[in-house]
């Protein structure tokens, strides 16, 4: 057996006996993403549905001045709350979310055919009330438009005269695309799973081995150091890949429980996704694992390695944020950026859109090349004299 395999099997055997590694690589890593996702989805979906169906409670001042208006609003879902003395103050003090005030001369103005005034009292700096205000405004505008049309008809004019412009919305987002927008974070969850899967092995086999003073005896064996490094990398990547595979499976299972249809979206989280996502992400596994080993090799202790890698874990979130904030159109060169390329591919897969083979090949090739470069840098660190000498 070649020395790299000897190192590999020893690291795997030792790790399988380590509860910490098992917890992180085979339980926490794979399950963290899917569970977080399920919870997030339930929260978002629950909220959206609640808002659309629930009556809108609004404090109304002067409801008696416009009984017809209030009746119409009630039919549209408004729940009239009793008036308060000083609505502005009440909104400011957050005792109520919003209030509707019917002007004192509402009745007179209405009968005279002049614009009658209603006021919406709210606090725009409070985010939560925003959609309620929009809903109330929509109700009022609808009522206003209907009555305006009736008045025009009564005067023998076509209601179209008052609406020179008709704006109709045609959303071209397919249900899948809308779902994927919500799922823009899923690729990062998968990257995080890869990261957590290899984390303990990367730390334990480098900084840990040095801290426990077993690296120096190991290096006294007639084995070139890059073979030792290769064995450790393969072991780390194996655990990371196992973590990823389990994570994808967990997503598959959790996907069955995701209330996506209620939001009119669908996600291609089927066996096809699983079969394609794994090979798409494996080059990234190698790059992330060798990166973790490099960082751990620089650290002087296990604790230091944990700190560094904890920070490094946040780096892959950058492409996710960029992709969700700036919905850029995917260009071919983007697939050549490690992390970004994989995230784009995963998002397209989620939308059940085909990914160009050339893009997949480019992404894999550049990522593997980057992994090789980091391996060469790490090898240099491994060849240095100070590596083995515990401080």
């Amino acid at each position: 057996m070649s020395p790299a395999w000897v190192v590999y099997w020893k690291e795997v055997r030792e790790s399988l006996r380590d509860r910490r590694v098992l917890m992180n690589s085979l339980l926490l890593g794979p399950l963290l993403g899917p569970i977080l996702f399920l919870v997030m989805m339930r929260l978002i979906v629950g909220r959206e549905l609640e808002k659309a169906e629930q009556p809108l409670p609004v404090v109304v001042i002067g409801a008696e001045r416009a009984p017809e208006l209030i009746d119409a609003l009630r039919q549209m879902g408004l729940e009239v709350k009793p008036a308060v003395a000083d609505p502005e103050q009440a909104v400011r003090e957050q005792r109520i979310d919003l209030a509707l005030r019917v002007a004192a001369d509402f009745g007179a103005a209405w009968r005279a055919g002049r614009p009658a005034e209603v006021e919406i009292i709210y606090d725009s700096s409070r985010r939560e009330g925003g959609s309620d205000v929009d809903r109330l405004r929509g109700m009022l505008e609808g009522y206003s438009h209907r009555n305006g049309s009736l008045r025009l008809l009564a005067r023998g004019l076509s209601p179209g005269v008052a609406s020179p412009l008709v704006v109709s919305n045609r959303d071209t987002a397919t249900p899948q695309a809308r779902g994927a927008l919500l799922f823009a974070m899923l690729p990062y969850m998968l990257v995080l799973t890869i990261f957590i899967g290899g984390l303990w092995l990367a730390i334990d086999s480098t900084a840990g081995e040095r801290e426990r003073q077993s690296l120096e005896p190991l290096l006294a064996n007639p084995v070139p150091r890059d073979r030792i490094l290769l064995g450790k990398l393969m072991a780390t990547a194996s655990f990371s890949t196992a973590s990823l595979a389990l994570g994808l499976l967990a997503f598959l299972v959790v996907g069955q429980f995701m209330p996506t249809e209620q939001l009119g979206m669908s996600l291609a989280l089927g066996p096809h996704f699983l079969a394609v996502a794994l090979p798409v992400l494996v080059p990234l596994v190698l790059l992330l694992c060798i990166g973790q080993i490099l960082i751990a090799a620089f650290a002087r202790s296990v604790r230091e390695a944990q700190t560094y890698l904890g920070l490094a874990q946040l780096v892959p979130i950058i492409p996710s944020i960029i992709l969700s904030v700036l919905p850029v159109k995917a260009k071919l060169w983007m697939y050549a950026v490690p992390l970004l390329g994989q995230q784009l591919s995963i998002m397209r897969l989620l939308r059940a859109e085909p990914v160009q083979p050339v893009a997949l090949a480019l992404s894999a090739a550049v990522t593997l090349l980057a992994a090789l470069l980091v391996f060469l840098v790490t090898r240099r660190v491994y060849e240095s004299e100070r590596l083995a000498v515990a401080t």
Binding site: P3, R212, N221, P224
Partner: protein, 240 residues
Amino acid sequence: MIEVQGLHKSFGAKHAVDNVSFSARDGEITGLLGPNGAGKTTTLRMLYTLMKPDAGSVRVDGRDAVLEPLAVRRTIGVLPDSRGIYKRLTARENIEYFAALQGMDEAATRSACDALIATLGMQEIAGRRTEGFSQGERVKTAIARALVHAPQNVLLDEPTNGLDVMATRSLREFLRSLKAAGRCVLLSTHLMQEVAALCDRIVIIAHGRVVADGTPDELRALAREQQLEEAFVKLIGEAP
């Protein structure tokens, strides 16, 4: 057989090892004796090719340690200053790991492990995971894995550090048995009793330099002292 010629090693401005020359012969136990920080560990690290000397040469059984580090590592067994073992592996698995890294096949590994486990009196602990081993049990495991490939040359850095009296006695007996088998044994120590009890030749190192080299009798004569300890103190004191 280990031959060291004009060895130099500096860390920054500090000369850790400054023109060290000596040899350790087969069938002898050679002791590198010196106070803490004298450069013993650094010298040994260059011998087992963990570090490269700035100048000078190390030859192990005629092979140059800088030019052929892998070949040299095959002919030496090392108990370094750091002697951590893998606590989630059993003692036997620890030894087998190094045997595999030495390129030994399964049959050779089994017989070598059995023999070492018997010689070092490890039958009771061989199948246990090493977590919770006593210092003596850990050192035994570390020695067994270092010697599993039956190296001609054995390097030990402060081998009895942290061992109790009984463990020290059995380790000394073991080193004598290696010597009787014609091996070249080189150990470093700061303990006078150790060299007095074990060594055929003593190389005294202070401030990175060899201040004396010879048999215990020769050193006593050189320092004109009856007690080896007095000779040691006197010889080190004469060093610049």
